[in-house]
């Protein structure tokens, strides 16, 4: 046990001596936490609109007005022709085109049916989908306005209507930041922990100091623990600072217990660092370790459900998320922050992440050979 203390002192001394890295470990993730949630927003507020109005009637103006006052759309220009509007999209000036044909008002009132064209820049399917959905809402609303104006009240009530009321639990204000901040926090803890641990042992290999330790009588688990504990502490500190920033900047704090959060993060970090050490033991040079770390980081993050729901993935990708430790932390963080889930509700998450911790660290100790 005493040996472990000496090794730990060495690791901490080395970490605190390297001021540049220390500063980066703390500063970079936190800056990211402050900036990213502002960047990572799918809330659409400024869909730019180019209108081609061939009708110039009262109703066409009303429709356009309905769009521009909705809060989602911003009118950039009136184009003479559709091609001209298309040009605006090509230059990225406009996201959406509305073309109102000649005779729009006449057809609507006389034929009871008319048609308009809505064209969206669909390079980003997500943005286009939302823009079109908002347009549909506005047009539906406009339809009702027209009907209210022309139909007698009685005919309205003879049609059976299912009234749909929606309620949004856990985040009733639909605050996107409440969703993204816990996720980004989970991600940053992961990044710092995994990168630092995956580079550590391999650095000693590359510089040659590991040989001096290998010829000494230290125990394998002492060595692994001495590598694990410092980053475990760092990870939890980064998380704590992250919680503080979430509260100060975004006013977000966990609905659930902080202690469950720390307990889970504690177990999670053991698992993650075990994986990092495994990477480090497997790699021959720091450069190689970085490649491998980068690879796993990317796959973990992309398949971790940070931005896109894992439910929507095809089966093969969904099965991959089950063996992705990062997705568990992201999920638990969100459940704690937004739903205030109890320990009992998280028992399976705890069980699985403990399993990861045992397996990864077991493999790390097993694979770390004091021989060459």
């Amino acid at each position: 046990m005493r040996t472990l203390l000496f090794l730990l002192r060495k690791e901490f001394l080395q970490i605190f001596r390297n001021k540049l890295i220390l500063r980066m470990i703390f500063a970079l993730p936190l800056i990211q936490l402050i900036l990213l949630p502002y960047a990572a927003t799918y809330e659409m507020k400024n869909i730019t609109l180019s209108v081609v109005d061939h009708d110039h009637s009262e109703y066409s103006r009303k429709l356009i007005n309905k769009f521009t006052t909705s809060g989602y759309f911003q009118l950039t220009d009136y184009s003479e022709t559709y091609d001209q509007a298309l040009d605006q999209v090509e230059k990225d000036v406009a996201d959406l085109i509305i073309e109102i044909p000649q005779g729009f008002e006449r057809d609507l009132i006389r034929e009871s049916e008319t048609k308009i064209v809505i064209a969206a820049n669909a390079i980003s399917g997500q943005t286009a989908g939302l823009a079109v959905a908002y347009s549909n809402l506005i047009i539906k609303d406009f339809n009702n306005d027209v009907r209210a104006e022309w139909l007698p009240q009685s005919r309205f009530n003879t049609i059976p209507v299912i009234e749909i009321t929606g309620s949004n639990w856990f985040n009733s204000q639909m605050n996107y930041k409440k969703f993204i901040v816990p996720g980004v926090l989970a991600l940053l803890v992961t990044l710092v922990g995994y990168l630092m641990s995956s580079l550590n042992i391999v650095k000693e290999k590359e510089v040659g100091t590991i040989e001096q330790l290998n010829v000494s009588p230290i125990k394998k688990y002492h060595f692994i623990l001495s590598k694990l504990i410092p980053f475990w502490v760092l990870g939890l500190i980064v998380m704590s600072i992250g919680f503080v920033i979430s509260f100060i900047v975004y006013g977000i704090y966990p609905e659930g217990s902080f202690w469950i959060g720390y307990l889970f993060a504690g177990v999670y970090l053991v698992a993650l660092l075990g994986f990092g050490l495994l990477t480090s033991i497997y790699a021959e040079t720091q450069q190689q370790a970085m490649f491998i770390a980068y690879f796993f980081m990317l796959v973990f993050i992309l398949l971790g459900g940070l931005f896109s729901p894992t439910e929507n993935m095809p089966d093969w990708a969904r099965y991959l998320t089950y063996i992705n430790p990062v997705s568990y932390l992201i999920e638990v963080m969100r459940m704690l922050v937004l739903k205030g889930s109890s320990f009992w509700a998280l028992r399976y998450h705890f069980l699985i992440i403990t399993g990861f911790a045992v397996v990864f660290n077991g493999l790390a100790i097993w694979n770390y050979k004091k021989t060459v």
Partner: protein
């Protein structure tokens, strides 16, 4: 003469696939002896040494280090030996004192022992001013002397030195050998590989390895007589002439 044997090997062999890096090495080293392990680059010195210090498993053959078996008792061996590699391996981002502390602690010295040893060492190497400086900022010669002192900090039975004086100026080399003599005088057996033939003259006995095989083993004086040579350099050249490996 009935001296205590501290290293004893019998047909110790290491193969990497078809390549035999060290072939049926058999020798004995006595307590307090300075044993030179000579050979050209690639002759198999380092491979042989790594088997002796317990970080490389032999393919076959037997060996006992300080009475412990190299197959089963590697951790006991490690408690009883010191090691200094050709790659300088103290932590450059730790200070001299911190390095002493670390390795003292790893070998289980008590806090008091570490403090006494640390002070002695700093006085001996004349490092008062540098004691709290990072090892990385020291000149190479100082680092080597420091590394050796730390390797014998826990008073091991045997200290293994893998080309300890590579790249060091002649004066520092001389000083380094003075430290080796002192260690041997205190009863520590010194097992040293080198390819400086003048250093071979300082050893009590030397073995010369060519292509993984020990070609000669005796005191420098005897070897010179045997090969009718004027210097160890000469002995070495005669033996190594037929070598296949090396650069």
């Amino acid at each position: 003469m009935n001296r205590e044997v501290v290293i004893k090997t019998d047909k110790l062999t290491k193969k990497f696939g078809d390549f035999i890096a060290a072939s049926e090495i058999t020798f004995e080293v006595f307590k307090g002896e300075i044993f030179g392990f000579l050979g050209a680059n690639g002759a198999g010195k380092t491979t042989a040494m790594k088997m002796l210090i317990g970080i490389s498993k032999p393919s076959y053959g037997k060996a006992q280090i300080a009475g412990f078996d190299v197959y089963k008792q590697t951790e006991q061996i490690k408690k009883n030996i010191g090691y200094m590699s050709q790659k300088f391996s103290l932590y450059e981002d730790l200070t001299i004192k911190e390095n002493i502390n670390l390795f003292g602690g790893i070998y289980g010295l008590s806090g008091k022992q570490i403090e006494t040893k640390s002070n002695e060492l700093i006085i001996k190497l004349n490092l008062y001013k540098e004691a709290d400086k990072l090892v990385g900022s020291l000149p190479l010669g100082w680092k080597q002397k420091l590394a050796f002192s730390i390797a014998i900090l826990h008073e091991p039975k045997i200290v293994f030195l893998d080309e300890p004086t590579g790249g060091v100026d002649p004066i520092t080399r001389r000083q380094f050998w003075d430290m080796i003599y002192e260690a041997a005088h205190n009863g520590i057996t010194v097992f040293v590989t080198t390819h400086y033939m003048d250093e071979a003259e300082y050893c009590d006995r030397v073995s010369i390895m060519v292509d993984g095989v020990i070609k000669a083993l005796d005191s420098p004086a005897e070897l010179k007589k045997q090969f009718n040579a004027i210097s160890m350099d000469d002995v070495f050249l005669r033996l190594a002439r037929g070598a296949q490996r090396g650069d």
